[in-house]
């Protein structure tokens, strides 16, 4: 099932995504099943289909794990409250990736 959502980037991450601060997309589960996609599905999609920049390691490490130091907010709440990578995306969710890995 394709789920519509909004993805936002800040803290310098937008530089990896064509300087887009916000994108709307419709996402399916990676395995093509009827299951709603998770954050991991989203991260894989962003890396494979959206990111043009070669510096993938600024966003993910060890495959498709969000790099420590990149904050993820789901509808403005810390993703640590809702299961992190395993969170099941709901229609209309706003997901923000904010890097803290820049100077102060």
């Amino acid at each position: 099932m394709a789920v519509p959502l909004t993805v936002e980037f800040s803290g310098g991450l937008e530089a990896l995504f064509n300087n887009e601060r916000s994108i709307n997309l419709s996402l399916e589960s990676r395995d093509g099943s009827e299951n709603s996609p998770t954050i991991t599905d989203l991260v894989v999609y962003l890396c494979e289909k959206v990111m043009m920049d070669k510096r993938r390691e600024l966003f993910v490490i060890d495959g498709y794990h969000v790099r420590p130091g990149v904050l993820v907010l789901i509808n403005d709440a810390d993703w640590e409250l809702v299961g992190e990578e395993n969170y099941v995306i709901q229609p209309g969710d706003e997901i923000l990736f904010a890097s803290t890995l820049h100077g102060g």
């Binding site: 803290g11 904050l71 102060g104």
Partner: protein, 350 residues
Amino acid sequence: MSGRSTESIRPLSSATCELCHIRKPSLRRPKTGQKICQPCFFHVFETEIHNTITSANLFFRGERVAIGASGGKDSTVLAHVLKVLNERYDYGVGFVLLSIDEGIKGYRDDSLKTVKRNKDQYAMPLEIVSYKELYDDWSMDDIVAQIGNRNNCTYCGVFRRQALDRGAQKLGIKHVVTGHNADDMAETVLMNLLRGDTARLDRCTEIVTQSTDSPVKRSKPLKYAYEKEIVLYAHYKKLDYFSTECVYSPEAFRGTARALIKNLETVRPSAIIDIIRSGETFTLERKRGTVATKLGTCERCGYISSNRICKACVLLEGLNAGRAAVQVNGSEYEPHEGAALHKRLEHLSF
């Protein structure tokens, strides 16, 4: 225990803020693991900084203090919180924003625009000091054009420290606060430990530092504030800040330490504060017979210096002579030991 009684407790504790027990939580605090809501977060974040300030007697009534403002997240949050606390607790401190214009196109010119907006947002006076006006018309862009991309952070570090001091002196201010956060401090502890730099390890966690060759004291009110919370605070408060890395500084070694800290934080969030606490409790045996450095003034520029000629003037001499000056401070530095030089000078960076 019956199933019913646990059920009646569990939804309360997981669905509401662990402090007010009313609102929905917005974040998990890395320091404590508590799940808390935005208003409670603002309250504890600000109160902890207030406690850091009062327990270290950082300010006195009537003091004028310059906030080293880069337009980045840390100094923006610092300026905002200091304004809030100064009003809430009536510190009676006069804050001024002090920015350095290194002359880096596409980086500092943009971040200075942010600082100029902050000036109005926080109703604080703003002073901008540029490398160009202080250092014989050399901007960082000019310096990099001449010496290339290798040792440029050395120049920037030395120049920036003096520039902050000079800016403060220009304003008649003897105290500069900077936005160094807990992650920065844990990083520095690790770096000094890995390098075996015992002299610096001892001092790097101090909240107030006064270097022998500086008339201005420095302090770090955010030393216990986690980067994650600083970024969330700025985000939830919708503060206006600038987030682009300096175009010239990948800073490889700090990058390694930073990645390590971030990985440790993922496994155990309290690791950052634990490393700072360990750093604070290191006591190292003093060497006997160490002579205190004599303070003098630089023969060239008249600035306070423990050497005949201050570091900035030595670097400038090299630049003006049309070559890269690698030798900074007499025989202590071997020209080919770029790493040693970097190590000696890194603490000067802002």
